[in-house]
């Protein structure tokens, strides 16, 4: 009798011990930030994203389930093959539970496939293409900060309404550039404008003189820059050098970050319209985040990608805590249902296609005389509500969206 009870008690203990440790794989939560640490996009994402993730972990409390939350980071060098092999290594041998940032669409899509295969979470703050919430959508994959549709709707609409009704595109020759051009062309045409032509340049590219000349020859009123990072900066600088803006054509930077404006200088960038998900000087909470971030980043100010990484990491940790497990599918459910509360995701909610819909802002770069100091660069012209900024769920080609 006693022996049966003993065996029973031991069995019960053994079983319960087993279930407790199965809730959190390896008894801890481990986060990976996979970004461009050294190339074209390293200022708009890069080390700043790693810092943003660290700040989110600190603000959450640093621990989950009694164990410290671990953070690893790596450089995917904007290459899909490097990104997917790092992701695989992280998931298979380093117990990473979720990957963040993932700037550069090619790398993002590669990691999305690996994450889907392994049932782990990827929350993208850096890449632009809408393919992440359409053809490549996944139950454990999320698109957090911005996408090319929001850029097209925000900047494209604003520029056309100002009178820029004929466009020529300078497009980065890879998935992101093509997508940004396609979305903006749709918006231009929907507003009654025309697209006079486009040219695709290698990614990355230093000399735009030849492509700008072709843009000039098209006599389009607006030269749309469907590229990002140092490509956009070089194109804008060289357009000024070739007298393109003086001759009457305007440039529309379709994806411009505050780091780009800083590099160009207000003299060159003034008057440019852009759409952003975050501006450091917009309100007190944004300023508080920026001040903390800036102290460790030599006085620079965060871009929307950095703010998005902070927000996605914090929301992930809260979702893991609520789900009481780090198992991908269960956390993903919580990510979709838990309300998002931070300075970044204003009116934010996560949809079935993985898109985090939130307010975006239409901004215009200040004139040098209007700026009171470094990084005081934007006038926020209007707030674009999330439902207007992002592609309607009904138009999504994502398999998870029930029609």
């Amino acid at each position: 009798m006693f022996k049966k009870t003993l065996v029973g008690a031991v069995a019960a203990l053994a079983l319960s011990a087993g279930t407790a440790s199965a809730q959190f794989t390896d008894n801890k939560v481990k986060i990976g930030v996979l970004t461009d640490l050294s190339g074209t996009y390293s200022d708009l994402a890069g080390q700043g994203s790693v810092l943003a993730a660290q700040m989110a972990i600190e603000d959450f409390g640093g621990k989950l389930n009694g164990a410290p939350i671990e953070l690893v980071s790596a450089d995917h060098q904007n290459k899909a093959d490097i990104a997917s092999s790092i992701a695989r290594k992280w998931y298979d041998t380093e117990q990473v539970d979720a990957i963040f940032d993932l700037v550069t669409t090619a790398a993002a899509v590669a990691v999305r496939e690996v994450s889907r295969e392994k049932g782990r979470i990827d929350m993208n703050s850096g890449a632009g293409s809408t393919v992440l919430t359409n053809d490549k959508c996944s139950a454990t994959g999320f698109h957090w900060t911005y996408d090319v549709y929001a850029m097209a709707v925000g900047t494209g609409n604003a520029v056309v309404k100002q009178g820029g009704d004929s466009w020529f595109f300078l497009t980065a020759d890879y998935a992101f550039g093509h997508d940004l051009e396609a979305q903006t062309a749709k918006v231009v045409k929907a507003n009654g404008g025309t697209v006079k032509g486009s040219v695709r340049h290698p990614f990355p590219n230093a000399d735009f003189s030849s492509f700008l000349l072709q843009a000039q020859a098209s006599s389009a009123k607006i030269i749309g820059l469907a590229n990002a990072g140092s490509d956009t900066i070089n194109a804008i600088k060289q357009a000024k050098e070739f007298g393109i803006t003086q001759a009457g054509q305007s440039l529309a930077g379709l994806l411009v970050f505050i780091s780009d404006v800083h590099s160009l200088g207000l003299d060159t960038a003034q008057g440019m319209m852009l759409t952003t998900g975050y501006y450091w000087d917009r309100d007190d909470a944004s300023r508080a985040f920026a001040k903390r971030w800036s102290e460790k980043m030599k006085g620079r100010m965060p871009t929307m990608v950095h703010a998005g990484v902070y927000s996605s990491v914090l929301h992930y940790l809260r979702s893991v805590e609520k789900a009481k497990t780090d198992e991908g599918a269960k956390v993903a459910e919580q990510i979709r249902t838990l309300p998002i509360k931070d300075f970044f995701a204003v009116n934010g909610k996560v949809r079935a296609d993985g898109r985090m819909v939130h307010d975006m802002y239409l901004a215009q770069v200040k004139k040098p005389s209007e700026s009171k100091g470094p990084w005081d660069y934007y006038n926020i012209l209007r707030t674009i509500p999330g439902d207007e900024a992002f592609k309607p769920l009904a138009d999504s080609t994502c398999a998870l969206v029930k029609k």
Binding site: D43, S209, L213, Q214, A217, S230, F242, S263
Partner: protein
């Protein structure tokens, strides 16, 4: 309106002129590389990093010393050449007796270190550097608007390349240098200080890279990666032109700039690869290069 293969003639001439301008950068950089390889037998992979240093020194001079473009054109090559000479004296000179590959590995490693250091200090987005007032603005040539600065780039490059070629091929100093590379022991026995000549030649090659960097600062973004993107193309130019031929690499630089310009008009997506396709063809048909000596 006349069209050539469907492109208006005016647009084509504009693109060819731009190609010539890019070719000027390739020419100056490949001149330095060909000089260093042809006369010293070193494959200087840090050439791109030295070009980048030239541009950064120009920016530093402007930001911290208030020294403008013209001062930078004279001072930056000298400063970077001094760094180059230090590298040569302390590290490279030990490798002359060894296989080419050691020199390549050393200079490649140095390039990575230098670029990494600058990236740590200055980030990737680039530093602003304005076109000097005297060269600002442009001329409306009818078929295109040519910024005066770009015209200056072609002029400066052409003068520099011609001057260097003349010095190497036609002057006594050049003759000593060429003799020293062919038979250093004999030339040394004649009383000419061969190691000093080699060091100064490396320094001059580095100075050429830095000069190209200062030329590039107002038009290309002054960022730590500006050299690494360019150096691969320049190597292809030198290989096509012939590793030992100075005039060859200069002419090839201009020619390939034109070819790249044409590609950008007809099929821009291939613009970054067309030079390598030419390199493959040349290596298959004439491995010594178009102007190279030897089998």
């Amino acid at each position: 309106m006349m069209t050539v293969f469907g492109i208006p003639a005016a647009a084509l001439f504009g693109q060819l002129l731009l190609g010539l301008i890019n070719g000027a950068f390739y020419a100056v950089l490949s001149l330095g590389l060909a000089l260093i390889f042809g006369l010293l037998n070193i494959i200087n992979f840090s050439h791109g990093a030295q070009y980048m240093m030239g541009a950064f020194v120009a920016w530093l001079l402007l930001t911290y010393a208030g020294a403008g473009y013209w001062v930078a054109l004279a001072v930056a090559p000298v400063l970077v050449a001094v760094v180059g000479i230090i590298i040569e004296r302390t590290m490279l000179s030990r490798l002359y007796k060894l296989d080419h590959l050691y020199g390549l590995l050393l200079t490649f490693g140095l390039a990575l270190i230098i670029e990494g250091a600058f990236r740590q200090l200055y980030g990737i987005s680039g530093m602003p550097y304005a076109v000097p007032k005297e060269l600002a603005g442009g001329w409306n040539l009818g078929f295109m608007y040519l910024p005066i600065y770009r015209g200056w780039v072609v002029l400066a490059s052409a003068v520099l390349c011609l001057g260097t070629w003349f010095a190497i091929e036609k002057t006594k100093l050049g003759a000593y240098l060429r003799a020293a590379t062919e038979n250093p022991a004999l030339v040394q026995a004649m009383g000419i200080n061969v190691p000093v000549m080699i060091t100064l030649t490396y320094g001059f090659g580095v100075a050429l890279a830095a000069f190209a960097g200062v030329l590039a600062a107002p038009v290309y973004s002054v960022n730590p990666l500006m050299g690494s993107n360019l150096i691969i193309v320049v190597f292809a130019v030198v290989v096509i032109g012939g590793m030992g031929s100075i005039m060859g690499s200069v002419l090839t630089g201009f020619m390939l700039g034109l070819l790249e310009g044409l590609t950008k008009v007809f099929y821009p997506e291939a613009a970054s690869t067309v030079i390598f396709m030419v390199m493959v063809v040349v290596l298959l048909i004439k491995p010594a290069g178009l102007f190279g000596k030897g089998a």
